[in-house]
C-alpha cells in the first residue's frame, strides 16, 4: 500500500514538475540531444511507476527466491492470505484496474499508431513514386511545386522530398545542408521519438508531462538535426538555407502551430555554438538516472527486505513483529507441499 502510494506520488509529482524544469529555452537548447533523452527517460519512468503502483496493490509482496517453484509456492500462500480480507481484495482490484488500464490503453494506441502510420506512409510513398522525379545525385525525390519545402518520409522505405521551388531557392551548399538535416532525422529515427510522445499523450491524456513532451520533442529534434547538419556544413549556411525555404514557402493563411520554432532555430544557428559544460551534462544525466531508478528501487525494496526475514518459526511466533495475517498463516494448517520451518516459504514481516 505504501509502495503504491509512493510510486503514484512520484509519478504524479514528476508529471507536473518535470515539464516546468524541461520546458523553456534554458539548457535544453544548448544540449537538445540530452534533453530528448531526458524527456524519453522521464516518460518511461512515469509509465513504469504507475504500472508498478498498480501491481504493488494487486500482487502481495513475495520475497525474492531463486527457484520458480519456491516462488510460486510463496506467491500462492501470500495471495491466499491477501484475499482473505475484503479490504485487501478491494485494494487488489483497484491495483489491477490501474495497471491493466494503463497497459491496455498503451497497447491499443500503440497498435493504432502502427497501423495508421503504415497506411499513411504506404499511400504517400506510392504518390511520391508516381508524381515525383527521383534525383539519384541528390538522394532525394523532387516534386514540382511553387512553394519551397523539404521533408522526409521515415520508415522502411525512406525518402527525402524537395520541391522544385526549394531546388531553385537554394544554392549547392545550402542544398547539402538541408539534405544533411533530413538525413539526421532519418538516421536518428526521430519519427520513433515523436511516436512515443504521441502514443502516451493519446493513451493517458490527463498527464501534463505527456502533453508537454509532444510539443517540446518536436522542437528539440529539429535542433538535434540542425546540430548534425551544422557539424558537417556551416552554421551560417544552414541558417540561410532555413531562411530561403521560409521565404520561398507560400505565406501561411494563419500562423502555423509550429510558429516560433522556425525563428528560434534560425537565431540559434546564427549565434555561435554554446554547448553545455561537462559538469552540467553530468548533472543532468545523474538527475535523470536517479529519476529512472527510483521507482524500481521503491517497488523492489519490500521484496528484497522480505528475503532477509527469517522464515515461519516452528511453534509460536518469535519477538519479530509478524503481521496478524502472517500469524494466521503460521498458525494455519500447512498447505500441501510446504514444510513448516523450511526455508522455501517465507512470509513478509511487517504491514503492506
Amino acid at each position: 500500500m505504501i509502495v503504491a502510494l509512493l510510486l503514484l506520488s512520484y509519478a504524479g509529482g514528476l508529471s507536473v514538475l518535470a515539464p516546468r524544469v524541461l520546458t523553456g529555452r534554458g539548457w535544453t537548447v544548448r544540449a537538445p540531444r540530452l534533453a530528448v533523452a531526458a524527456w524519453q527517460v522521464l516518460i518511461v519512468s512515469v509509465l513504469a511507476a504507475t504500472f508498478m503502483a498498480g501491481l504493488a496493490l494487486a500482487v502481495p509482496t513475495v520475497p525474492i527466491r531463486v527457484g520458480l517453484s519456491e516462488l510460486l509456492r510463496a506467491c500462492e500462500m501470500a495471495l491466499r492470505a491477501g484475499y482473505a480480507t475484503p479490504g485487501h481484495a478491494a485494494m487488489a482490484a483497484t491495483g489491477l484496474l490501474l495497471s491493466g488500464g494503463v497497459a491496455l490503453r498503451l497497447g491499443y494506441w500503440l497498435v493504432r499508431w502502427a497501423l495508421t502510420v503504415r497506411r499513411q506512409r504506404r499511400a504517400h510513398l506510392d504518390a511520391l513514386t508516381l508524381v515525383g522525379r527521383p534525383s539519384p545525385e541528390l538522394g532525394a525525390v523532387v516534386v514540382g511545386h511553387a512553394a519551397a519545402a523539404a521533408y522526409c518520409l521515415p520508415g522502411r522505405h525512406r525518402r527525402i522530398v524537395l520541391t522544385s521551388a526549394a531546388l531553385g531557392a537554394l544554392d549547392g551548399d545550402q542544398l547539402r545542408a538541408v539534405l544533411g538535416h533530413e538525413l539526421a532525422h532519418l538516421r536518428g529515427r526521430h519519427d520513433l521519438v515523436l511516436a512515443l510522445a504521441d502514443v502516451v499523450a493519446r493513451a493517458l491524456p490527463f498527464v501534463p508531462l505527456f502533453i508537454a513532451a509532444r510539443g517540446e520533442l518536436r522542437a528539440l529534434i529539429e535542433m538535434v538535426a540542425d546540430d548534425v547538419a551544422a557539424g558537417d556544413h556551416d552554421r551560417d549556411v544552414l541558417a540561410s538555407a532555413l531562411l530561403s525555404v521560409a521565404e520561398g514557402s507560400a505565406p501561411a493563411a494563419t500562423l502555423a502551430a509550429g510558429g516560433p520554432t522556425a525563428a528560434v532555430r534560425i537565431r540559434r544557428m546564427l549565434s555561435p555554438a554554446h554547448p553545455l559544460t561537462r559538469m552540467s551534462r553530468f548533472g543532468v544525466g545523474l538527475t535523470v538516472g536517479a529519476a529512472f531508478f527510483l521507482p524500481i528501487f521503491v517497488a523492489g525494496a519490500p521484496a528484497a527486505m522480505a528475503s532477509n526475514q527469517p522464515y515461519c518459526p516452528v511453534g509460536e511466533p518469535t519477538s519479530l513483529q509478524l503481521a496478524p495475517v502472517a500469524r494466521q498463516i503460521c498458525a494455519a494448517p500447512v498447505p500441501e507441499g510446504c514444510t513448516r520451518g523450511h526455508s522455501s516459504h517465507v512470509l513478509r514481516a511487517g504491514s503492506r
Partner: protein, 121 residues
C-alpha cells in the same frame, strides 16, 4: 501488397505527357522504345492503377482508353497538402524541414542574418 515501382511511374509519365485518353497499346508502343516489355505487363499495371483510382477509363470499341484522374500538378499540390497538414496525423508520417513562418518572423530573421553578415565581413 506491392508498392508502386519504376514501371508504374513510367506509365503515368507517358499518360501525363500524351494528355489524351490512351489504350494499353498506345502506352506499350511508347514504352517499347526504351525497354522490352510485354503487353500483359502494361495491361496489368494500368488496370492496377485504375483500381487504385489513379486512372479512369472508358470503353472504346473493344479496348479501354485510360487517362489520369488529375494532372501531375494537382497531385503534387495534394501531396504537399498532406505533408504539411497541421490537423491530421502529421507526426505519424513525416518530419518536415521547416514549419511555416509568419511574415514578421521572416523579416526579423532576415535582419538578423544581414547584421551577422555585416559583422563577419
Amino acid at each position: 501488397m506491392r508498392r508502386f515501382g519504376e514501371l508504374e511511374s513510367a506509365v503515368m509519365d507517358r499518360l501525363w505527357a500524351r494528355d489524351e485518353p490512351s489504350t494499353v497499346r498506345d502506352v506499350l508502343d511508347e514504352l517499347r522504345a526504351h525497354r522490352s516489355i510485354a503487353y500483359t505487363t502494361v495491361m496489368t499495371v494500368m488496370d492496377n492503377l485504375y483500381k487504385k483510382r489513379w486512372l479512369t477509363r472508358q470503353l472504346d470499341g473493344r479496348a479501354y482508353r485510360y487517362r489520369p484522374v488529375a494532372s501531375r500538378d494537382q497531385y503534387s499540390a495534394a501531396l504537399m497538402h498532406t505533408a504539411f497538414d497541421e490537423s491530421g496525423d502529421r507526426a505519424a508520417a513525416l518530419v518536415s524541414f521547416l514549419d511555416q513562418m509568419s511574415a514578421e518572423d521572416t523579416e526579423a530573421v532576415r535582419n538578423a542574418l544581414r547584421k551577422l553578415r555585416r559583422r563577419t565581413r
